[in-house]
Structure formats: structure tokens, C-alpha cells
């Protein structure tokens, strides 16, 4: 009963996505999988983690998913490229590799894990595919918008242009100019790119059957690292002076502050990484938990309460998708601002000087 409802629910929510499903594979033992007890932890884990293929829906033990290329490299075996459908959703080993809990492992002839092979897995996984999709959307959308700026030189914005222009202006005026100051211009491409990159990936993650890319620690790690690198490379002498030898502070305090400031250099991007990861993943977990209640209690009556809550959280997540992209961009701009800010005391002095005149 419960699995039927599960199927029904997934079928209805994912009906549109199923249209482009290209592969179907039979589970080895359909009877066993339909009888298996519902494990909410496993279900949620499955939804929020990466996978070698893009799973859309399971109906009557048939897993419908988009196969994606598996690309593996190891010094022992060289480069191997094949379709993820070869694994038959973890039920078959292929070419000396097998899928173990979503991870690809090298196996020896007997079928047990071969730990002597260090595998570089650069497969186009579900997350990579989703991220590339977002990149394509970003490129097509903003190159088109840039085209309409050229076409309609000096005229009022139109269509997508008029939707995104206020957002671009907001990032320029209220994020970059406010946080960075007069040197904001050189950071604009980076700020706009991370804002829209995060936002679009957040939104793609909210589509049913979508990948949880922006709630993936690797994704947020990359962006935080990029922000850290840009901050460090563009930092001026006042930034370093502030960290290494905080001005205007007694000597003993300077020695205490030094390690704190150095740690602070790293905690800032670290907080960026954790914030985005936790917010997006938490949102996904809450939605899945509310829906999972139906299958835990094995009664459709719970849906009367679980589905509206899941809907409410989903709508909230739409807002969070934008908010987190904004927060990430805002804090990034703030860190850039601290890196390129002119000496504060000079500023105060200059202002005082001007005021005196």
C-alpha cells in the first residue's frame, strides 16, 4: 500500500520530467525491492547526494533515469569512459568497476573491492549534469540579454532584460557599491556570476527530481575557495597590515590579535561554504521529511498535513534560493571590500580635515 502511494506521488509530481526519460532498467529482484521497508533516512540521503545517473522515478521496480557518462581514471587502468546505465543502478559490475552506495569502486576479477587502485572519478554525475545545465541556461540567458542591450542601445529594457536589470542594478548599487566602494567595478563580473550561478542552481535543485547541487559541500567549497582566492589576491597593504599588525592597538594585544585575524581569513570563506550548504540541504531534507511522513505512518491521511507543509516549505525554499544567493554575494562583496578598502584612519582624517575646512 505504502509503496503504491509512494509511486503514485512520485509519478504525479514527476510526470512531466518522465517525458524525457531515456533509459529504463529492470531491478534484479523486483519482488524484494517492493517488499523492502521504507527507510526515510535512506530515501532522503538518496535525494540529496550525488549519483552517477539522473534518477527520475521508480515505477513497479523499474527505475527510470537518464544515463550519464562515467569517466574514470587511475594510473593502473588508465582512462575508462562508459555509460552509467552499464551499472544497471548498482546491480551489475562493468569493466572492473561497480557501484557501491552511489560510489564507483574498482573491483578485481572476483568482484570484491580493489583498494590498490586509486580512482579519479570525473564522471558527469547528476550534480555535474545539473550544474552544466545551469551554466548553459546562464550563458544563453545572459548572452541574449547582453544582445538586447546592444540592439536596444539607450532604450528602455524589454522582456527578460527588464526582469533581470533591476537585479543586476541591485547587485551593483546595493551590494557592490555599498560593500566595496569606489573600486567595485572590477569585481562586478565575479559578483554577478556567483549570484546568478548560485541562484539558478538553487532553483534547479527545487525542481522535483532535480539535483541538490548548491546543497553539495563541494559546490559551496569551490565558491568559498574562489572568494577566498580573489580576496587574498586583490588585498592591499592595509588589509595585510590589519591582519598582521593591527594598527591602533597596544603591542601585547597585537600579538593576541594576529592569530585571531589569520584564523579569521579562513573562517570567513568557511562560513560561506557551510551557510549555503546547510541552508539548501536543510530545505531539501525538510520537504522530503514532510513527504516521507506519509510513508512512515503508512496512511494517506497524513498527506493532508504533510503535503501542505511540504508545499509551504517548498515555497519558502524558493525565497531561500534567492536569499542565500544574495547573502553569499553580499558577504563576498563585504570581504572584497575589506581587501581593497583604503586605510580607515586616513579616511577619517581626510573627512575630519574636510569638515574642518
Amino acid at each position: 500500500m505504502a509503496t503504491k502511494i509512494h509511486k503514485l506521488l512520485l509519478t504525479t509530481t514527476l510526470a512531466l520530467v518522465v517525458l524525457f526519460t531515456t533509459s529504463k532498467a529492470f531491478a534484479n529482484d523486483p519482488a524484494a525491492s517492493t517488499e523492502a521497508a521504507f527507510n526515510p533516512g535512506e530515501m532522503i540521503q538518496h535525494h540529496i547526494t550525488d549519483a552517477p545517473d539522473w534518477h527520475i522515478v521508480t515505477i513497479d521496480g523499474h527505475e527510470y533515469s537518464i544515463p550519464l557518462p562515467v569517466i574514470l581514471y587511475s594510473s593502473q587502468r588508465g582512462l575508462d569512459v562508459f555509460s552509467s546505465s552499464r551499472f544497471e543502478h548498482g546491480h551489475a559490475a562493468y569493466n572492473g568497476y561497480k557501484l557501491e552506495h552511489g560510489h564507483i569502486e574498482a573491483v578485481d576479477a572476483s568482484g570484491s573491492a580493489d583498494h590498490s587502485v586509486y580512482l579519479y572519478n570525473v564522471s558527469i554525475t547528476k550534480n555535474v549534469a545539473s550544474m552544466m545545465l545551469s551554466a548553459v541556461i546562464l550563458l544563453v540567458l545572459f548572452l541574449t540579454i547582453a544582445g538586447s542591450y546592444k540592439k536596444r542601445q539607450g532604450l528602455a529594457p524589454k522582456g527578460a532584460q527588464s526582469f533581470f536589470e533591476p537585479i543586476i542594478l541591485y547587485i551593483r548599487d546595493d551590494v557592490a557599491k555599498t560593500m566595496i566602494g569606489p573600486k567595485y567595478e572590477k569585481f562586478m563580473p565575479y559578483l554577478l556570476t556567483i549570484f546568478f550561478f548560485i541562484w539558478f542552481n538553487n532553483l534547479l535543485g527545487l525542481i522535483p527530481a532535480g539535483a541538490n547541487v548548491s546543497g553539495n559541500i563541494t559546490f559551496t567549497l569551490f565558491l568559498a575557495l574562489a572568494t577566498f582566492i580573489v580576496t587574498t589576491l586583490t588585498a592591499n597593504k592595509y588589509y595585510w597590515a590589519h591582519i598582521l599588525w593591527t594598527p591602533g592597538v597596544p603591542l601585547p594585544l597585537r600579538i593576541i590579535i594576529l592569530p585571531l585575524e589569520v584564523i579569521g581569513m579562513f573562517t570567513k570563506p568557511f562560513s560561506l561554504m557551510i551557510r549555503l550548504f546547510a541552508n539548501i540541504t536543510a530545505g531539501h531534507i525538510i520537504v522530503l521529511s514532510f513527504l516521507g511522513l506519509v510513508f512512515i505512518f503508512k496512511t494517506i491521511a497524513v498527506a493532508a498535513f504533510g503535503v501542505p507543509f511540504a508545499l509551504f516549505i517548498s515555497i519558502l525554499e524558493l525565497f531561500v534560493a534567492l536569499l542565500q544567493a544574495y547573502v553569499f554575494t553580499l558577504l563576498t562583496a563585504l570581504y572584497f571590500g575589506s581587501a581593497v578598502h583604503a586605510h580607515e584612519h586616513d579616511d577619517d582624517h581626510a573627512q575630519g580635515h574636510e569638515a574642518a575646512h
Binding site: L143, G154, I168
Partner: protein
Amino acid sequence: MNLITPDFGLFFWQTITFAIVLFVLGKFAWGPIMSSLKEREDSITEALESAAKAKTEMATLKAANEALLQEARLERDKMLRDAQTVANNLLNEAKDKALKEGNLLMENARKGIETEKNAALAEVKNYAVNIALEVAEKILKKELKDNDAQKALVSEYLKETTLN
């Protein structure tokens, strides 16, 4: 643990994808968009400024026109006034002159008439005296042809003259 373990593959592809997105959008989207926005803002600011400038210029021009008009009006009024004055003066002068001329003429005429009248009167007097004398002479000659008559007359005169 799976959830918080960074994944090499995703990081690898993200580096490539993000680098491409950042480069392509930075070069072909954000750059042109930012510059067009700036251009448009500048042109709007410029247009507003020039509009304000035009307004001030207009006001200045209007004020200048007004001043010019006022001046012209004053000039006209002055000219009219002057013309009026000149005309009045001319008229008055002409009137005065005519009056004087008239008076003079009248005076002359009156004097002439007076003279003529006096002369005429003197002539009439002389003529009347002469006539009277002639008549008296004739009467006297006729009356005093005989003595009787002369005596009668003397007596008559004597009668009239009372000797006191």
C-alpha cells in the same frame, strides 16, 4: 559522512564550468550590460541636466525678452509722450501765434478804423462848418441888404441879450 565529503569529480567539473561561465559572461555579457547601463544612466543624467539647463536658459531668455519688451514699451511710451508734447507745443505755438497775429490784425484794423473815423469826422466837421459859414454868409448877405433889417436884427439880439 558522504554528505560533507568533498567530491573530486564535481570540483573538477565545477572549476571548468565556472571558469567558462565567468569568462564568457564576463567578456560578452556583464561587460556590455554594465557599460550599456552606465551609458544609459549617463545619457539620462545628461538629458536631465540639459533639460534643466534649457529650462534655466529659457527662463533667462524669457526674462531678457520681457526686459526687452518692457524697454520697448517704455521707449514707445516715451516716444508717444514726446510726440504728444511736440505736437502740443506746436499746436500751442501755432495757436499763440495765430492769436497774436489776429490780435495784431484786429488792433491794426481798429486803429485804422479809428483814424479813418476821426479823419472822416474831422472832414465832416470842416464840411459842416464850411456849409454853416456859407449859409450864414448868404443869409447875412441877404438879410443885411437893407438897414431896417440890420436894425431889427441888432435889436433882436439886444433883446435876447440881457444886460445885467
